[in-house]
């Protein structure tokens, strides 16, 4: 039976590369809420707090449900807290999910039981006449969960303050990243980034990554640039999906998967760029997510800096690129729209460079720095800085900002301001 399998993706440590590949699989429909899914796809490792978060998501899937775990390259990857998870021993593909779905529908596998106990995290602490916690009819922390109380917002209106944690598996959030937020009427009043799996938590970097190899050995420029194109197209796919453009996301994901086979920019890629531009997504993102002036964008580097007009690109000084007619691309604005345009142009440029490098045989030498895929946020952006940047944003703008930065998995910002 041909059916699209509704899958919710919860990426663990080392599993962030799989979200866009699933978008390219015709047998799979990636859904934004676990309540709509039958299969929970959990690629990567799930240490500590990530395991707790995954358990919470798992228990929201309706029965019949099945978890598909792909441990990836890490031989000792910490498995998700689902005992009966279906473990893949080869790279996931669409038919794997169809088999998983059919196994529960046909009764070959039992639907997975809950991971967490159905008990409140704390006892109810009643205060008022009717057992309610806090002040008057509202507020307090009944069952360990903060209830909304009214408070003045920036305009002096007394609105309910909703306090909750968003992520780590929300659409567009990088692996291990969550936000503790206080919202009033949909506008962020307070925000604090939370890092559930700080880098170095026992997960080795993927050795096959050309950007990792380029630090210690000679790597063909064509490999680097194809990987760069693949990365930016995968980001475009995840971004379009998180923005509700499911079909455009699938097209971008297919390009990302195929970019290794078709090294030159194609008419199809230009069609993708026109679709993205025509969707209005760049116009929607205009004016959103600019960093404050206190952030050192030159230090951050990467597409985020170039999207703000900063001329910083390690390829400028790499002799391997001198013969490839490389010119760094920059945009003005420094907002989310500029970052979107920047990455789409850089993807096309990367494929052009890859085609030229393939003909000339250009080699990157390890003594020259390699231009990273993303900027350096960990040492250049403070957690408080990031949190304060989001204050006053609409929730949608908050997600756009996080999406546009393409934060690396397991990102953590420095302390202080």
């Amino acid at each position: 039976m041909a059916v699209e399998v509704p899958v919710f993706v919860a990426s663990g440590v080392g599993g962030d590369d799989w979200a866009h590949r699933l978008l390219a699989a015709p047998e799979v429909r990636v859904v934004p809420t676990p309540r709509a899914a039958t299969v929970l796809f959990a690629p990567g490792a799930f240490p500590g707090a990530m395991a707790d978060a995954l358990g919470s998501v798992h228990d929201q899937l309706p029965h019949p449900r099945v978890t598909v775990w792909w441990p990836g390259d890490a031989a000792d990857a910490r498995r998700p807290p689902v005992e009966d998870a279906l473990v893949l021993d080869t790279s996931p593909s669409g038919p794997d999910f169809v088999r998983a779905l059919m196994s529960v529908l046909d009764g070959d596998r039992d639907s997975e039981p809950d991971v967490l106990s159905d008990e409140p995290p704390a006892d109810f602490e009643g205060k008022g006449d009717h057992g309610q916690g806090g002040e008057g009819m509202m507020g307090g922390v009944p069952y360990g969960r903060p209830m909304a109380t009214t408070g003045d917002d920036r305009d002096g209106l007394a609105l309910d303050r909703l306090e909750f944690r968003a992520g780590p598996f929300l659409a567009g959030f990088p692996t291990g990243f969550a936000l503790d937020v206080v919202l009033q009427g949909g506008v962020v009043q307070e925000a604090r980034p939370v890092f559930l799996a700080p880098a170095g938590d026992g997960t080795p970097a993927p050795v096959a990554d050309p950007f990792v190899r380029a630090r210690r050995e000679r790597v063909p420029v064509a490999h680097l640039e194809r990987a760069r194109a693949r990365h930016h197209l995968a980001w475009a796919a995840r971004t379009c999906w998180a923005s509700g453009l499911d079909a455009v996301a699938r097209r971008a994901a297919a390009h990302a998967v195929r970019s290794g086979d078709a090294p030159a920019p194609s008419r199809a890629l230009r069609c993708l760029r026109r679709l993205v531009a025509g969707s209005g997504l760049p116009r929607v993102w205009e004016g959103v997510g600019r960093f404050p002036a206190s952030v050192d964008l030159e230090g951050v580097g990467g597409p985020v800096a170039r999207a703000a007009g900063v001329n910083v690109d390690a390829r400028n000084d790499d002799p391997a690129y001198a013969d490839l007619a490389f010119e760094p691309v920059r945009h003005d604005g420094g907002d989310a729209a500029a970052r979107l345009r920047q990455r789409l142009v850089e993807a096309e440029q990367a494929l052009t460079l890859a085609a030229r490098a393939h003909e000339t045989g250009a080699i990157h030498e390890p003594e020259h720095p390699v231009e990273p895929l993303r900027g350096d946020f960990s040492s250049r952006v403070a957690a408080d800085q990031f949190g304060k940047m989001l204050v006053g944003f609409d929730w949608g703008d908050t997600v756009i900002t996080v999406l546009s930065l393409d934060l690396p998995p397991l990102v953590s910002f420095r302390r202080g301001e």
Partner: protein, 312 residues
């Protein structure tokens, strides 16, 4: 002619049921076709059976619940929404002699339907007792007033040439010149209202992947299916109403009146469905600004054009 035929009492509910059932299926098929074409894939003949498979999968799923939802409102919200879709369809004439309820104040009834959609959507966000649905409901209501006002001006403008609020009279008044020609701003602005009221595409504020599917974030199994059916039904109703108000309704050469209504409704339906795959959802703040600084002035202009046209 009042546009009312003396029919058996069951004819009205039967017509509404058949139209909505057909429309719901066509929305599902069109949605899949648009998705695959934009994604660069061939639709294939499976598009005609895939909606049935999806529905079967949802029926087979557990209807999960959150902790301490407002259970009564949680059931009332989708029931209200679907009922409003059915109610709105009753004022649409399907031929020169037949409609379910071509009342003298058809536009007023339609306005009430649109306003109550906001209530149904907010209840859907309120009732699960969960953050994402509530925030989506806030967002929907925050933007809703802007396009509901727009709807008023656009529909009054369409009614002016007929000098009547009865939908059948508005269709009759388009004999020889459809409203989409003499009031070119009307249909595009009405499409904005349609998309907002069905949480669809660029104006789908009650949904959104950034809020884990918005008001439906906690809906699973049959409850999710009911909401999908409800939105498809509302799209069908808006398309049929739009066909009557702006595309001349049942009027057209060679084919029968009902055949023209069906063709025009399906055409409008396909266009509305496709927007979800072609256009990104707007930011709430930008949309509200656009509504008040661009769309509403265009609505006034549309009303002015209609007024001048009526006087001449």
């Amino acid at each position: 002619m009042t546009g009312r035929v003396h029919a058996e009492v069951w004819a009205g509910p039967l017509l509404v049921s058949v139209v909505l059932a057909t429309g719901i299926y066509l929305v599902a098929v069109a949605d899949i076709v648009a998705d695959r074409v934009v994604a660069g894939r061939r639709p294939g003949v499976g598009v005609f059976t895939d909606p049935v498979r999806r529905a079967a999968l949802l029926v087979n799923q557990q209807d999960t619940t959150t902790e301490r939802p407002d259970a009564a409102l949680r059931d009332l919200a989708p029931a209200t929404y679907i009922s409003l879709a059915a109610l709105g369809l009753t004022v649409v004439p399907w031929s020169s002699t037949f409609s379910v309820a071509d009342i003298e104040a058809g536009i007023v009834l339609w306005g009430a339907v649109e306003a109550l959609v906001v209530v149904a959507a907010f209840l859907a966000g309120w009732s699960p007792n969960s953050h994402q649905p509530l925030l989506a409901a806030y967002r929907f209501v925050g933007a809703g007033l802007s396009y509901l006002l727009l709807s008023m001006f656009v529909l009054i403008a369409a009614a002016l040439p007929a000098e009547s609020l009865r939908v059948g009279a508005i269709v009759d008044a388009q004999h020889g010149l459809w409203n989409v020609v003499r009031q070119p701003l009307g249909l595009p602005l009405f499409a904005v209202v349609a998309l907002g009221s069905t949480f669809w595409g660029p104006v789908g504020f009650a949904g959104g992947h950034d809020l884990a599917d918005g008001v439906n974030a906690e809906a699973s199994g049959p409850r999710r299916l009911v909401w999908d059916v409800g939105r498809a039904a509302m799209l069908t109703t808006f398309s049929a109403f739009g066909a009557a108000m702006f595309l001349g309704g049942w009027q057209g050469p060679w084919l029968s009146g009902p055949a023209w209504m069906v063709l025009k409704t399906v055409g409008l339906l396909a266009a509305l469905v496709a927007t979800r795959h072609l256009f990104a959802r707007m930011r709430t703040e930008r949309f509200v600004t656009l509504c008040w600084t661009v769309f509403l002035p265009l609505g006034f202009l549309d009303l002015g054009i209609a007024g001048v046209g009526t006087l001449l």
